[in-house]
Amino acid sequence: MIKKIFILIIFVFLSQFFLNNIYTVEPDEILKNQEQEQRARKISKNIRCMICQNQSIDESDATLAKDLRILIREKIKDGYNDDEIYKFLTERYSDFILLKPPLKLNTLLLWILPFVFFTIGIFLIFFHNKKSRKI
């Protein structure tokens, strides 16, 4: 029984590993230049699919995601650098298109609050333990 459960766990972990490596880039999209293709893949992983929202365009098979993947590759071939490509996309779709929101005044709370809550949590545990020890 334990052996079966162990095999099942291994299977789940392995399938998760392979699923994470699945991407939807179609063969005709792939650039011949390996270095350029790697750049395109890296950028695509940071760009949100605006239709599916919690997937990157690298993983999404939505038509807009495909259009954006092709566009990124065309920009790379045209000699654009990464920053210029990100700028091109955010000018049209705002920072929302970036899967990782940039640190700006309007996203400050988003970045700071986890640390604030973490500090409060540590503070509460510390005082609770101190009090318990006294009892």
Partner: protein
């Protein structure tokens, strides 16, 4: 001290509760992403026109009157649903409407407009979806209100229906003033 400390999580909980409650109450569409092109000039583009021989050149079209720009396609069911309201803008409100035909078949579009009526003063063709990307479109139908100076003042995502037709109308009236 312990009682005092208990106030902190209670306050945090209340803050989160009030925030979520407020977001539930206000009239908003959580899937609606604000356009980054608001208060900016319309993107410049040149493309074929469905009915005219001359090319559609955006810089020659915008900047004289209020124009509604509607991204549509015949394969898009919500576009069919909203078509009656798009027609009302041009027929009743006498607003110029430009319909950008997104990734579609020309013959089918001509037939579609024959059957349902053609509210568009011009139909520029967006064969590969690049014009839509320049407008920040992520799902058709989408409708933009462009003012007399050629500046985008509003973006509506999704089909225009009875409810948001009124909203769009009052917004256009405001822009007119």
């Amino acid at each position: 001290m312990k009682k005092q400390l208990l106030i902190i999580p209670t306050l945090i909980f209340l803050f989160i509760f009030i925030t979520f409650f407020y977001l539930l109450l206000i009239d908003r569409n959580p899937t609606d992403i604000p356009s980054n092109l608001l208060n900016k000039n319309v993107p410049e583009f040149e493309t074929e026109s469905l009915f005219k021989k001359e090319k559609f050149i955006s810089s020659e079209e915008f900047g004289e009157e209020i124009i509604l720009v509607n991204f549509f396609a015949t394969w898009c069911k919500p576009c069919r649903d909203e078509h009656v309201y798009i027609k009302r803008f041009s027929d009743e409100k006498k607003i110029r409407v430009i319909g950008i035909n997104y990734k579609d078949n020309n013959k089918k579009t001509i037939q579609w407009l024959k059957n349902l009526g053609d509210p568009y003063s011009d139909v520029p063709i967006d064969k590969n979806g690049r014009i839509a990307i320049d407008w920040g479109v992520y799902g058709i139908p989408e409708t933009f209100v462009v003012n007399k100076k050629g500046i985008i003042k509003y973006r509506h995502v999704g089909p225009v229906n009875k409810k948001n037709f009124k909203k769009l109308n009052s917004l256009i009236e405001k822009i007119k003033q």
